[in-house]
Subunit: 357 residues, 2 copies
């Protein structure tokens, strides 16, 4: 990311401060600090004011901080919060209420000068992060392409007898060799009845003939996540499994068709849920239809019941209906997409036709 992009992000945040009648913002959530400065270390606080941004970190990151950000950097020994708190000028200080812990809040309060008021702030930086710039979308495009390349390379080697664990290791290795920093989350490889666990960790179980194989994977590339799920069959799919697959695929298509700028997130969820209800599978769809992603694998907006937020062009979300039948198995189909004015761009164009390996 070029440094002017960070400058303009900080300007937008600063403008928000004025609107919220705040003088300063204490950013404690590390991905938000990364978003605003480029700094990727594991210990930092950012103090943003109309006068500029100051990044506080510890001695381990002196060199790295100087390399990664053009902000003023202060290297602190010991806890960051007391040091930042003491240095504050009079005014209203926003803090990230969904991130700061109860303990950290108490420490902050205990060290604030008497003329500083600490005010909880909800999702300020996160709101800006929801809508991606063209540079961010391009990175996510590459992240998604990388994940499905790794998926397609690995698919050629899938056969009964391979353990879930080894298949997950292979997928992760290929993502890394293709340039990913890491998987975006613990890669799910769930076979047979284990596919009925929506968030199964891979085990030493070997893939069996005739089984369902559910793979949910994504990459972090230059900080940005991708996320995709494909469900395939080892050998001929049973008629019941085929029926479930078609229903989920139809639900996913209906949800994708519902996506466009101006649509409420809950309408996308409803579109998927309606198809599965018609198929008698609504109760087997035990999670929401999707979630935002970017610098985090789960971020706003959620694509779920009751989420009234309107989709905007540039929002990146997943669309991933699934059905899970305990003792039988599960089917999920997921793409990462970017909302645009007329619809969406699918970033994970791996085939969704029913595959019988």
């Amino acid at each position: 990311m070029i440094s002017s992009e960070f400058v303009s992000r900080r300007k937008l945040v600063t403008a928000d401060l004025a609107r919220r009648r705040l003088d300063l913002l204490l950013v404690s959530k590390l991905v938000n600090i990364r978003y605003l400065t480029g700094f990727t270390g594991s210990n930092a606080l950012l103090l943003q004011s109309p006068d500029g941004a100051v990044l506080y970190t510890d001695g381990r990151y002196r060199v790295q901080a100087a390399e990664e950000t053009e902000c003023t950097v202060k290297v602190v020994q010991g806890s960051l919060i007391p040091r930042v708190a003491k240095s504050l000028p009079r005014g209203r200080l926003g803090f990230e209420a969904a991130h700061l812990t109860f303990d950290a809040y108490r420490t902050l309060k205990a060290h604030l000068p008497s003329k500083v008021a600490a005010m909880p702030v909800e999702g300020l930086v996160e709101e800006h992060r929801m809508v991606k710039s063209e540079a961010e979308i391009e990175t996510m495009r590459r992240s998604a392409a990388l994940a499905w390349n790794a998926f397609e390379q690995t698919l050629q080697h899938v056969r009964p007898g391979i353990r879930e664990l080894d298949l997950a290791a292979e997928l992760d290795y290929r993502m890394r060799r293709l340039g990913a920093e890491s998987p975006a989350f613990e890669t799910i490889v769930a076979s047979g009845v284990r596919s009925a666990l929506p968030h199964a960790s891979p085990t030493a179980k070997a893939l069996g003939n005739g089984e369902i194989l559910l793979i949910d994977m994504g990459a972090f590339l230059e900080g940005y996540a991708s996320d995709m799920t494909r469900t395939i069959f080892l050998g001929a799919a049973r008629p019941k499994a085929k029926r479930l697959y078609r229903a989920v695929l139809e639900a996913q298509r209906a949800a994708l068709e519902a996506v466009r700028e101006g649509t409420a997130a809950k309408s996308v969820d409803r579109a998927a849920r309606r198809v599965l209800r018609t198929a008698g599978l609504e109760r087997a769809f035990v999670h929401s239809t999707g979630h935002g992603l970017g610098l985090e694998i789960h971020e706003s907006p959620r694509v779920a019941r009751k989420v009234g937020i309107q989709l905007k062009a540039g929002m990146a979300i997943t669309v991933e209906p699934g059905v899970y039948l305990q003792g039988f198995g599960g089917i999920r189909i997921e793409d990462t997409i970017v909302v645009n004015r007329g619809g969406c761009e699918i970033l994970t164009p791996a085939s969704k036709e029913l595959i019988e390996l």
Copy 2:
């Protein structure tokens, strides 16, 4: 872990509640929930009382929770905190103040019946987690052995021209193939001057002849972390680098010799720091000597200045002094160890002799 181990952990925690004059404990930190129940899902709350433990989670984890824990499980639609809060009996409810966010605390308060008082609790479950059982130590032994096996396998293929990224991918792949769930943290492969960044992420930089190569890696195996660092030389080490290496190795040995039951954590830190001071390198040692590890890669106790906590037999910590010279490079040597009565057991017995590949 056998289920009786979870039962006895919960008994110890319940006994602590009485000592702290609490009637109930709301456990929100997921590794603490795992420690007390075996549940490994990503969304849960545990309510522990003298009458037993109730695990709250969402529909995605219905099957998994039933498989993983013998606790009572309640599957909740929507946010967990309001649901748990409403169901509480009169009394004093402890919550994890270092984990619960300010927002979650407010939600909890807003939904508590009027006869329930919410009391911040510091590190209750974490205190029990510090001292590992023999079963936990055995898992950590295998986690550490796995990491250094992967290290030694990979070392044979290290040569100038390989990119840091690819070496990190190789290390991670080998850990996975040896049975790890994942790396315990982002594997650090830092070569040349980049080794002066204590927490460098691997880059596309190729290893150069005559360079320092710092590798910091560990595995999660059955939930338990290991952590080791070795610094090696690609070709003949320069005299200055050799001198730094010997100083760090001597500091690490001094710290290891200081470890035994009853010693204060800060004394171990001081032992390492004293050696580096004598070598004129104290200011180049920019972090603390070590940290506890177990279900988390960083947990209590810290092994640092001012940490007066006494080491107990069964505590697992790292011992990892390092020196970092900007523009030249860095050296760090790290083992995972378990404290015992007369000293410690080193779980990462990879050679620490100076290696020139």
